[in-house]
């Protein structure tokens, strides 16, 4: 990955180390056990606003589709289609690399893990004037990124599957 990468924090390797997904899952479990699901959602919102701030800046310049293409190219075993239209960018996640790796290794998955895609991405999207809606989960899902407006239906968390 070169310094002109569309990813905010480039590395010398081209693809990440999948065992780090164990730590992501464990981090969510720890925060949920200590601070409840609301604490976990605050963590996701805070990390979206703070750590991923450079992504917000990119998205405010129409960089949503190219970001996700580069992102999933660097995630091991991800199978994701990125569709771009004038109104939205839609991700069709055929194989979620996170869920896949946790399942392959028999790890106990935090049931609400798929909600992190909504809460983190929504916190990234808001400063860029965008919104995200997630449907599905537990290994495959659809994520739609579009301009935020008052008539947009809020995310229904029941549309996001419980993972196992």
């Amino acid at each position: 990955m070169t310094s002109d990468s569309v990813l905010p924090y480039p590395d010398t390797k081209t693809v990440g180390h999948a065992d780090f997904y164990f730590a992501t899952n464990a981090t969510f479990r720890f925060i949920k056990q200590r601070h409840g699901i609301e604490g976990l959602r605050r963590y996701w919102q805070d990390i979206g606003r703070e750590y991923y701030r450079p992504v917000s800046e990119r998205w405010s310049k129409n960089g949503v589709a190219e970001y996700w293409r580069a992102f999933f190219a660097a995630e091991p075993s991800a199978q994701v289609q990125v569709h771009e239209s004038p109104d939205e960018v839609r991700l069709e996640v055929k194989i979620c690399p996170l869920i896949r790796h946790l399942r392959e290794h028999g790890r106990e998955i935090v049931p609400e893990i798929c909600q992190h895609c909504y809460f983190v991405s929504e916190a990234i999207a808001q400063p860029a004037g965008l919104a995200v809606r997630v449907c599905g989960g537990n290994g495959s899902c659809t994520q739609r990124f579009m301009k935020n407006h008052a008539a947009l239906e809020p995310q229904n968390l029941e549309d996001i599957a419980t993972a196992s």
Binding site: V15, G16, F22, A23, A26, H35, I47, E50, A74, V120
Partner: protein, 183 residues
């Protein structure tokens, strides 16, 4: 989605988030409970069951997959790692990510309790530049840490021209991230 490609970035950010929320004790609990006992339970099992052979099995593929430049030295009494280019700290330095006061502590934060549970103690130093060394011995072995070059020869990270730093953390027969002195 939070990816594994830049995992070390959001991992380091998380230390500071937890520190703001619950201070040092919460960060320590996170390293022990979430990383040692949950994320890295495969490492715990290997090392508890196989001792030095388990360390070799765990750190061989893991450090290679992460892109580390390192050397391992194993005898019947000690397992040593010389880390010349830590992929994790290197990633943070290259990207200017420095939210938490001492990222390098996280290794002793999870490996320390793991080794304690498995019956080992650790001699260790890290220089906050992406270089460190580790020596694991059984807790009933009173042998002190090796002198530079004694165990790993010219691969000893302490012989590097850039090893000395203004802020090196030092541990002797430790299993707790707070058991350190600055040298």
């Amino acid at each position: 989605m939070m990816g594994c490609y830049d995992f070390c970035g959001h991992y380091e950010w998380t230390f500071e988030w937890l520190n703001r929320l619950g201070g040092h004790e919460l960060v320590k609990a996170y390293w022990d409970e979430a990383i040692h006992r949950d994320s890295q339970l495969h490492a715990s099992e290997l090392i508890r069951e196989k001792g030095f052979e388990g360390m070799k099995e765990y750190w061989g593929p893991t450090l290679a997959d992460e892109g580390a430049v390192y050397e391992r030295t194993m005898t019947k009494d000690v397992f040593r790692i010389d880390m010349h280019e830590c992929p994790s700290k290197g990633f943070l330095i290259r990207n200017g990510l420095d939210q938490y006061s001492d990222y390098c502590n996280h290794c002793m934060g999870w490996i320390g309790p793991l080794m304690k549970q498995a019956g080992f103690v650790i001699d260790h130093e890290h220089n906050h530049r992406g270089q460190c060394w580790w020596e694991m011995r059984r807790k009933d072995n009173a042998t002190p840490a090796s002198a530079p070059g004694e165990l790993s020869g010219e691969d000893d990270v302490r012989l590097r021209p850039g090893w000395q730093s203004e802020h090196t953390d030092h541990y002797e027969r430790a299993t707790d991230p707070d058991d350190k002195t600055a040298i």
